[in-house]
């Protein structure tokens, strides 16, 4: 049990800068997710916290204690590696018992045995204890690695893409299982993933990383509804958020978004940008509704292609030279037919086209719901 602080950590590998002044604050018992594409520095962050890599600059604090120069085995940190790092010459039982046989985390064999039996029963690998790691499937190995992390006392748990090598179905099941593990709920955890669904499902808070820099930290609602820029907006949601290119048109203190061909015109209320400013209008495919709805902004175009997604469909609609994706339960969709979709004004996101920063909009109504990711989870993978 401890807080975790990362202060201005920079890590260089030769000329490559893996982490560039990273700051993180993880609260006691918090489940904190690091999300980012590969090469963003997620694993390097974990290794710096674990002490397996020494930061070029910056400090790491665990429970308020500066551990930057403390050896990994003295940090009371447990880590599940992306490749599981199971000891191939030891049985599953011996693998899990390994930390409990060290001086630091020693447990008498009888106690260790009962603890391991309890943890492995929870994880459903109790029958595999005598096997060798080489005889296990990916999902089983992943549970063994998790068991090895959970049996030992730790102030901070580091989990490096533990689900990434599992197939989609197993991943969804394990995601739910991870959430229900008491040990994970109570211990300060840093969880690395490149899967936004995992991040949304598991994270108390989520940090988005890009090229060794922190882009945004926040709750799932923050990241979903108030992404700081286009990168974060694109990172969440499948299909990706629609981004229409256009410019600002100011008239009588009210701004509007207009595409270059003039086919789309969306009133935005007061916006602090001059006429002609290049912007992108973002709206998530699942927020769009087929047909004209009162109080929403209509977008008119032609259906380009329809893809079935289980019980829903993803339609791509051509508006002039641009395309937008819509996810809808609506069934009567014919390619080439004219179509109108409506965009709820409170779900519109406006970005500066060059810098990518989000430009705040005065939202009418301003009622905020929880993000639609639960629905995403069910149908997106179907």
């Amino acid at each position: 049990m401890a807080t975790l602080e990362v202060r201005g950590v920079r890590k260089e590998f030769g000329k490559l800068v893996a982490l560039d002044g990273l700051d993180l604050d993880v609260g006691d018992g918090e489940f904190f997710v690091l999300l980012g594409p590969s090469g963003a520095g997620k694993t390097t962050t974990l290794k710096c916290v674990a002490g397996l890599e020494t930061p070029t600059a910056g400090r790491v604090f665990i429970g308020g204690r500066d551990v930057t120069d403390v050896e990994p085995n003295a940090r009371r940190v447990a880590m599940a590696f992306e490749n599981y790092a199971l000891y191939p010459q030891e049985t599953v039982f011996d693998n899990i018992a390994f930390p409990l046989r060290s001086k630091r985390y020693y447990l008498p064999p009888a106690e260790a045995k009962s603890l391991i039996e309890r943890v492995t029963a929870t994880l459903g690998i109790g029958h595999l204890l005598e096997r060798m790691p080489g005889e296990l499937s990916g999902g089983q190995r992943q549970r063994v690695a998790l068991a090895r992390v959970l049996v030992r006392p730790a102030d901070v748990l580091l989990l490096d893409e533990p689900l990434s090598h599992l197939d989609a179905k197993l991943r969804a099941a394990m995601r739910a299982e991870l959430k229900s593990l008491g040990e994970l709920q109570q211990t300060t955890s840093l969880y690395v993933t490149h899967d936004y669904l995992e991040a949304l499902a598991l994270g108390d808070r989520i940090a988005v990383l890009r090229a060794g820099k922190l882009v945004q930290v926040g709750t799932r609602e923050d990241l979903w509804h108030r992404p700081v820029d286009v990168f974060v907006a694109r990172a969440f949601g499948q299909p990706q958020i629609n981004l229409l290119g256009g410019q600002i048109e100011q008239r009588d203190g009210e701004a509007a978004f207009v595409t270059p061909d003039g086919l789309v015109r969306v009133p935005l209320g007061p916006v602090d940008l001059p006429s002609g400013a290049a912007v992108e209008l973002g709206v998530r495919p699942r927020d769009l509704v087929f047909g004209e709805e009162p109080g929403m902004h209509p977008l008119r175009g032609r259906i380009y292609v329809v893809e079935p997604l289980g019980r829903q469909r993803e339609a791509t609609i051509q508006i002039g030279s641009q395309q937008i994706a819509v996810v809808t339960p609506f069934e009567d969709l014919q390619p080439d037919a004219l179509a109108t979709v409506s965009a709820p004004p409170e779900r519109l996101l406006l970005f500066d086209r060059d810098a990518g920063q989000r430009i705040p909009l005065a939202m009418p109504g301003g009622v905020e719901e929880t993000p639609q990711w639960r629905e995403v989870e069910v149908s997106g993978r179907g």
Binding site: K47, A50, G51, L52, E71, P72, N73, R75, V77, A78, M79, F81, E82, N83, Y84, A85, L86, Y87, P88, Q89, F98, P99, S102, K103, R104, Y105, M132, P133, G134, E135, L136, S137, G138, R141, Q142, R148, R152, H165
Partner: protein
């Protein structure tokens, strides 16, 4: 088994192999193999024949003679003369070869690990220097070493030979084991570190057991090279620490070369490396690191 036999791909391969055997190319290939084996094995067979002949049959017979084990008795000092110290040479060889390999393992395994895992100043040059011992001809250094050994009293001692054999065995063990350690994912030891073990413990408990096959192979190879070494013991030993390679040759000197004794001695000297190779054969097959990699 049934499943394997029913496999159509395998069946087809077998069929193709069967037809190849009786094609012209197949027969030529078999012939070539046989010729090669005769070429490779004939010296051994000839040596066996020599060792079974009496001295007067040596130069008068090829294959038809009355075999006798007299040469072996003479070499092992079991006959009336009992003067040949070959048994002592044999024991000397065992002592210096095992000694050299043991020290090379003690020094070389941690060194190989350090070279594989840590980047330190001069590491690459050090590694290359070690390798360069292998390309330098032994003759180049033998005279200075002879003089030095004479001065410091290492001439004709086991310790002296074990020391100089490090030129042969240490580079071999370091280079082979370094690549074994490099093949291990460092995350295994990192995991051990986080599991509460110190760096030396992680090395001994996690990395070392996984390179056992590599250690066996490297040690065997080093032993064979040390055992077969000729020029070092030839120059650096007298009667006391002489090894089998030099001892076997000693029968060739004198007015009448006693080839039968040389042959018998050489065949006896073949036994330890052979036994060693057979006993650690199962380690020579790699395959213990499965499971460490992604699933």
């Amino acid at each position: 088994m049934a499943a394997i036999e029913a496999n159509p791909v395998l069946a087809e391969q077998e069929e193709r192999a069967a037809t190849r055997r009786w094609s012209v190319g197949g027969i030529a290939l078999d012939l070539l193999t046989i010729v090669y084996f005769i070429f490779a094995l004939f010296p051994l067979v000839w040596m066996l024949l020599l060792s079974l002949k009496t001295p007067d049959q040596l130069f008068t017979t090829y294959f038809r003679f009355t075999p006798t084990l007299d040469s072996y008795r003479a070499v092992l000092g079991l006959d009336a003369s009992g003067s040949v110290p070959f048994v002592r040479f044999f024991i000397n060889s065992l002592i210096v070869s095992f000694g050299a390999v043991l020290i090379s393992l003690l020094v070389g395994v941690p060194a190989a690990y350090a070279f594989a895992r840590y980047q330190f100043k001069g590491g690459e040059s050090l590694l290359f220097t070690l390798l360069s011992f292998r390309f330098a001809p032994e003759l180049m250094v033998i005279i200075p070493i002879y003089v030095i050994y004479q001065r410091i009293g290492l001439f004709d001692t086991h310790l002296g030979l074990i020391w100089v054999y490090q030129l042969i065995t240490l580079p071999l063990i370091v280079w082979i084991l370094r690549s074994y350690f490099q093949d291990l994912t460092p995350e295994l030891e990192q995991s051990a570190l986080l599991d509460g073990y110190s760096r030396p413990q992680a090395f001994v408990k996690v990395a070392l057991p996984l390179v056992k096959p590599g250690m066996a192979a490297a040690a065997l190879l080093a032993f064979i090279f040390a055992w077969n070494s000729f020029i070092f013991p030839f120059i650096l030993t007298g009667s006391n620490a002489q090894t089998v390679t030099v001892g076997a040759l000693s029968f060739m000197g004198g007015a009448t070369p006693r080839y039968n004794l040389t042959a018998a001695a050489a065949l006896i000297a073949l036994i330890p490396p052979l036994l060693l190779a057979l006993s650690i054969q199962r380690y020579l097959v790699r395959g213990l690191t499965f499971g460490a990699v992604k699933g």
